[in-house]
């Protein structure tokens, strides 16, 4: 153990933590010492077309197609979307629906591939020399490779790399905090692939045009810190590792930026408004592979942990591998777990169906035993204030809960419902075990539903009004047409009557009859001219 240097003493962020926050038992030692291992190709891959925030990808293959490793099978649709590639070579056995890796297990569009075991690469993406490439080329390559935020938010990375056009960016923050308990995939990746990650960081920094790079790592990962500290610049851009306190939710983008720069991102704004962009360490590694080697995002490191797993490990898994096969690879389950989660224990999602696939945002598969997830009776709120003390946003969750329970959603919005990160600190800290986050999720869903309904109503009203206007315009046009026709008819009748009268009154030479025609044509043309002027 070394003494802190003077310089580190002068860096207050190592001592001043984010407001609120909690300190759950990290239990990272279960898997932190297992090196990343490659999992063999599974028997089946189920690749959902929606693994990212934004629009669902469009399938590019059909049943019985033979695909090669890295082949584009789902094409990004719209500006916020991501490409999806075949993780290995094999035959497409279905393009249909399968249960989502989500508590609901609702069927989502999924491409199912039976690997042929050859693992034959198709044509890779063209390699790029980031030193010579323009920012646009780098972003395009990242988009082509289907890279999304690997921390779990799964926001398409290329969209974030293009923020340069709209914001004056100066700092790239690499989020290596990994504040969720149990998860060690970023930790291991930083320890084992520090150089690759730094290369990826440099590429992203070039694409963003930033002047400095800060790699933020929680103080409970000394080896990762040491590994990342070997580099002080990435592609010529100065970089430093900043140790941040071990505290949940340190990895929250806005809180990390606050810890590092001391500046608070305004509500409803982006960190880019402060000139800061945050990317995950795992994303940097994926960018490195995509740009240097032309490899799309077809696998990721997943932490398999929890006391319910026989052999906790960090495994590089092909996207689409069924959870059950990953668990099997890790020796199976010791006992029937109390909860099976995708992601960390604070914000992770419980799943029921073990055949659901690992997707791009799956950072962990946790099999928690009953001892690890104590399930207690809910008691009434005793207003102890632990939820308010723990809230990193400065909300009063007990009040939100009371208002939501009594159906006062507007009142809940007034005291900050929409500012909630749903990080779970309040529920974690509640001595009465009140499901505060669940209530907040419910309220947010309800609000979205109401919003949607209101939007729909307004849209229907707008369409009805437009239709009415259209119909009125058509009726008006018709009326005018009728009037015009009537006028013409009247004129014609008049002419005919005149002609008849003339014919009747005198012997008219037949060649005089057509003279009236050019006259009316002339009159009409002058009227038209008057209208257009």
């Amino acid at each position: 153990m070394t003494l802190p240097s003077i310089a580190s003493l002068l860096r207050p962020s190592q001592y001043f933590t984010v407001r609120g926050g909690v300190h759950p038992e990290t239990r990272k030692n279960l898997s932190s010492e297992s090196a990343i291992e490659d999992m063999p190709i599974p028997s089946l891959l189920r690749i959902p077309l929606q693994q990212h925030i934004g629009a669902e990808a469009e399938p590019m293959v059909k049943r019985d197609d033979h695909v090669l490793k890295g082949q584009l099978i789902g094409k990004a649709r719209g500006p916020v979307s991501a490409n999806i590639h075949a993780p290995t070579s094999g035959r497409v056995i279905a393009v249909g629906h399968f249960a989502a890796p989500h508590p609901s297990a609702l069927p989502v569009p999924t491409i199912t591939i039976r690997p042929d075991g050859e693992d034959t690469w198709g044509p890779r993406l063209p390699r790029l020399r980031p030193e010579n490439a323009t920012p646009e080329e780098i972003a395009a390559q990242v988009a082509e490779a289907g890279i999304v935020g690997m921390g779990g938010a799964t926001f398409p990375a290329a969209v974030k790399l293009n923020l340069r056009a709209r914001y004056d960016l100066h700092t790239l923050v690499i989020n290596g905090a990994e504040c969720e308990p149990y998860l060690t995939c970023d930790d291991r990746l930083m320890r084992e692939r520090a150089e690759d990650i730094y290369d990826g960081i440099g590429i992203m920094a070039r694409a963003l045009g930033v002047r400095q790079i800060v790699v933020a790592i929680e103080s409970n990962k000394p080896q990762a810190i040491a590994a990342m500290q070997q580099f002080d610049r990435a592609l010529g851009i100065p970089s430093r590792v900043q140790v941040v306190p071990t505290q949940y939710p340190m990895g929250s983008e806005k809180h990390l930026v606050k810890t590092i720069t001391g500046r608070e991102t305004p509500a409803r704004a982006l960190t880019a408004d402060l000139g800061v962009v945050v990317h995950n360490a795992g994303t940097a590694h994926a960018v490195h592979l995509a740009v240097r080697y032309g490899e799309p995002l077809i696998s990721r490191v997943v932490t398999v942990s929890g006391r319910g797993v026989k052999r906790p490990a960090n495994v590089r898994v092909l996207i689409g591998t069924p959870v059950a096969e990953v668990l099997e690879h890790c020796g199976g389950l010791v006992e029937d777990p109390d909860r099976l989660l995708l992601g960390g224990p604070m914000m992770g999602q419980p799943i029921q169906n073990r055949r659901v696939p690992v997707v791009k945002g799956t950072s962990g598969i946790l099999a928690l035993t009953a001892a690890e997830t104590p399930d207690r009776d809910t008691m009434p709120c005793i207003r102890c204030g632990r939820c308010a003390q723990g809230c990193p946003v400065g909300l009063t969750p007990f009040e939100l809960n009371a208002r939501i329970q009594s159906g006062d959603l507007e009142g809940a919005v007034k005291i900050g419902l929409l500012d909630c990160l749903t990080c779970g600190c309040c529920s974690f800290a509640c001595p009465s075990n009140i499901p505060l986050v669940q209530t907040i999720h419910y309220a947010k869903g309800k609000l979205a539903e109401e919003e949607g309904r209101r939007h729909q109503q307004e849209e229907a009203k707008r369409l009805a009004a437009a239709r009415k206007a259209r119909e009125e315009a058509a009726a008006e046009a018709k009326r005018q047409m009728m009037a015009k026709r009537k006028a013409e008819m009247a004129a014609k009748k008049k002419r005919e009557a005149e002609a008849a009268a003339r014919a009747a009154s005198a012997e008219t030479p037949p060649d005089q009859a057509p003279t009236s025609q050019p006259q009316t044509a002339q009159a009409e043309s002058t009227r038209d001219g008057g209208a257009t002027q």
């Binding site: 809180h255 608070e264 509500a267 029921q352 009434p380």
Partner: protein
């Protein structure tokens, strides 16, 4: 394949629970209580048991009448703690029905009529104390000197004192520090004349003075209070605010007129100042939740305690001060809220500076 129950996150939880919190508070109260019980002997022990047990019985009865699940609530320890705190404020030789009445007022009127655990507006123990003090001024101000369990009445005499209202045991009735001071000051004596007649600082710290059953040992209460702060059961805001305000006002007044006002150290070590600062005012249910709210609440309680003691009709003002501020808690909660991340105090988003195009996506 079994279907594990689907529960919302987080899937890990702190070890703090309601009953654990109540248990810790009980542990923190125990040294002062045990010492008080030892000092005042068997009648105090009987009274304590009667109060605590009747509080628990009332709790169960109320739960049963209200149709609430009895099991988890009866085991959470909150009723026992309430009864305990009521007992702490009673004179040691008070008859059994005073303890039972106090427990009944606290549990039935102050707690369950408002809706049970977590719903009460006023601190149950203080409601009981205030009502008893007004209704039974003689019983509630009959103090006895602490002579120790061995030199006091034996078990049979004690049973007679507590349960039969016996006056046979010859007890030297004496005044508590604050009431003695109050009556002397009222009679026109100066502080310098009164001070020699009061128990010295050491006696007050250890608890060798007449007073309520459990609130005489300032030192042990302070110890328990520090334990609560150390265990993170309470934040130090309210205790510091209460004690600081009392000490500050006392220092100011005794500096201006040393003969008419008691010095700060007397205020801090006499009466139930310590019990109030660490155990009563910090009651979760009836105090504000935010730190700023707690500060206002604590300062106001301290000021009210000082004002009632100095200029009011009662020698001790803790119960009234706490009850008055309990009534203000909803108001404080409404106006004093933490600032939301990324927003100003008024709830507007922080101003956005420096961006290439103001026509971006932001609103």
């Amino acid at each position: 394949m079994t279907a594990p129950m689907l529960a919302s996150g987080p899937h890990t939880h702190t070890r703090f629970t309601v009953s654990r919190t109540m248990l810790t508070v009980s542990v923190a109260l125990a040294p002062a209580t045990l010492f008080g019980l030892y000092q005042f002997g068997w009648p105090a022990i009987f009274l304590f048991l009667v109060t605590v047990i009747s509080a628990w019985v009332f709790e169960v009865a109320c739960l049963w009448i209200a149709g609430k699940p009895i099991g988890p609530f009866a085991r959470d320890g909150s009723a026992i703690l309430t009864g305990w705190l009521v007992a702490m404020t009673l004179p040691p030789y008070a008859p059994w029905w005073v303890g039972m009445l106090g427990a009944g007022i606290a549990i039935i009127i102050a707690k369950h009529m408002f809706g049970g655990l977590g719903q009460n507006l006023f601190n149950p123990a203080m409601v009981a104390r205030a009502m008893l003090l007004v209704a039974l001024p003689v019983h509630m101000t009959t103090w006895v000197p602490p002579v120790g369990i061995l030199d006091g009445p034996d078990i049979w005499q004690a049973l007679a004192i507590t349960f039969a209202g016996s006056q046979e045991y010859d007890v030297v009735s004496s005044a508590s520090t604050l009431s003695h001071m109050k009556s002397q000051l009222g009679a026109g004596a100066t502080m310098s004349e009164i001070m020699p007649g009061l128990a010295d600082l050491e006696a007050r710290m250890i608890g060798l003075v007449p007073g309520s059953l459990g609130e005489t040992s300032t030192g042990l209460l302070l110890l328990g209070g520090l334990l609560l702060v150390g265990m993170r059961i309470i934040t130090p805001v309210i205790p510091l605010a209460v004690l600081g305000t009392i000490a500050g006002l006392a220092a100011l007044t005794s500096f201006v007129a040393p003969d008419r006002y008691a010095p700060p150290i007397l205020h801090l070590t006499a009466g139930s100042t310590m019990l109030c600062a660490f155990f009563i005012a910090t009651d979760y249910v009836t105090s504000p939740v935010t730190a700023a709210g707690k500060l206002i609440y604590g300062v106001a309680i301290g000021a009210l305690v000082f004002v009632i003691r100095t200029w009011g009709a009662f020698p001790e003002g803790v119960a009234f001060a706490v009850l008055l501020m309990n009534a203000c808690t909803p108001l404080i909660e409404t106006y004093v809220r933490p600032r939301v991340f990324g927003r100003t105090r008024t709830g507007k988003p922080l101003p956005v500076k420096k961006s290439k195009s103001p026509r971006g996506e932001k609103k």
